[in-house]
């Protein structure tokens, strides 16, 4: 089997950097920098699914959902809820949903008394693009909706990582081709892209293969970082790429 030297970037293919000390564990790390980074990474992964979930399940308007999401994440990351997570009992995503439900119920009871952020630095969310997605969601169950939004967010973050990686490696062109092909609503042909970028078709397909391979690696690295156990990682990865949701 011929190996592609590109895959050596960032270590052996399919092997991940040893960030296995999981973001979840890092949220209560003694080192403030590690703790803050872990908080930011968890918030980046989950705010969108949580926001949409609150919008739809709890019928909250945009501003309300935004505030609740922010308050929930601050509460989760600084309170005891995350420390109570037991990976043997549920996946982190399932646990998170239960926590969201409990939080919104409590917030309902304490309406008006909710102190958003509770002295924590405010998390900044841009919800403009999500509002258009809300209208197009098919009739998914709430469970499926949360899962689908998690999938969407993982790929969106992976694409951001890929964009940065491509830029750092001077591979902006392969990323542009990937963007023009895989991220387009209507799929252009390879020949069309070859004409547009003035490249041979084989170069277009090679660039696409590189981008897809790296995207997969980067998304898996993100999953690796937010899962608590190997089994949870494998389950999440399968549900992201496999047949099952």
């Amino acid at each position: 089997m011929v190996s592609d030297p590109d895959t050596a970037i960032g270590g052996r293919p399919s092997r991940f950097p040893s960030t296995r000390a999981s973001l979840i564990a890092s949220t209560s790390h003694n080192d403030g920098t590690i703790r803050r980074e872990a908080h930011a990474a968890l918030a980046a992964t989950y705010w969108k699914p949580i926001y949409k979930y609150i919008r739809i399940k709890w019928h909250r308007d945009n501003e309300d959902a935004k505030d609740l999401t922010q308050a929930f994440l601050s509460d989760l990351l600084t309170g005891s809820a995350i420390a109570s997570f037991d990976s043997a009992r549920a996946t982190f995503r399932t646990y998170l949903r239960v926590c969201v439900d409990r939080f919104v119920m409590n917030a309902n009871q304490a309406a008006g008394r909710l102190k958003r952020g509770a002295g924590q630095p405010a998390l900044s969310f841009d919800t403009d693009d999500i509002e258009s997605e809300l209208a197009t969601d098919p009739g998914l169950s709430l469970d499926d909706l949360f899962h689908r939004e998690w999938q969407r967010q993982m790929f969106a973050l992976g694409i951001d990582d890929l964009r940065r990686l491509a830029h750092d490696l001077g591979k902006d062109r392969p990323f542009e081709i990937f963007e023009a092909h895989d991220l387009a609503e209507d799929l252009p042909s390879y020949a069309e892209l070859a004409r547009r970028f003035d490249l041979p078709v084989s170069t277009v397909t090679n660039h696409l293969a590189w981008a897809r391979r790296e995207l997969r690696r980067l998304v898996l690295a993100r999953i690796k970082a937010i899962t608590a156990t190997e089994a949870e990682f494998a389950d999440d990865a399968r549900s992201l790429f496999g047949k099952h949701r």
Binding site: P13, S14, R148, R213, G242
Partner: protein
Amino acid sequence: MTPLSDRVLERLRETAAQPDVSGTRYRLEDLLGRGGMGAVYAAVDDELQRRVALKVLTVSDDPEELLAEARLAAQLEHPGIIPLYDAGRLPDGRAYYTMKLVDGVHLDEYTRRTSSLSDRLRVFQKLCDAVAFAHSRGVVHRDLKPANVMVGRFGEVLVMDWGTGVAGTPKYRAPEQAGETAHPVGPAADVHALGVILRTLLPENPPRPLLAVVERATAVDPAARYPDAGLLNLEIQRFLDFGTVEAYRESGLERAARFYRSNQPLLILFLVYVVVRFALFLWPGR
């Protein structure tokens, strides 16, 4: 952040799951099937210019695992066990193996297309035969199910995915695989799965002896099941030959009916003989 529509998201999921075969001797054609663990593609081996089936796991954190399974399957040379051609790692780090691309259908599709019970049972016997061979070599499949059994155009049966499903598939797995009993997982787990498969091959109102066979094959206690797939096969043969099915205690009437069915031509001849003799006896001119 790039907004992703549902359509783009699905495309990304699909392309990210696709094995990266760039720079290899293989070209992907179609996705043949995808399960929770992995996917099988029809591919072309450009070196040997033949079509193959390429299996790759969705996540292969430990590629050695799949390669070990491939090595295990490669040791099993039997007409009922799918032959492996090649195994290795793809540029994306995932382990893969290639195998014969069978021109046929999965067992569940075959069952939908075939109404004859005896044809279905003969296919089941070939399946038992392959499993019995593997057991004789010390190999347990652990995930027997219709999706892992191909029936070819000429009625040949090929069992795939040896040793990949350690946990088994809920509908087919034995209680000991699910951790419901403390028994070790061995050949009896495959016998259990064969029993469940047999049930899927039977019509809505199945013959009682076959139901008894299913019951015995799927007993909770592994010791109460057929000791091996060969004996299960033998039990099916007895049913097809109108013999006594060991798992079923039949009534006198059923025994008589079975005796009639198994000796029907002889009994009819005998009956004709008796009638003719009687007629001749009563013939007035005699």
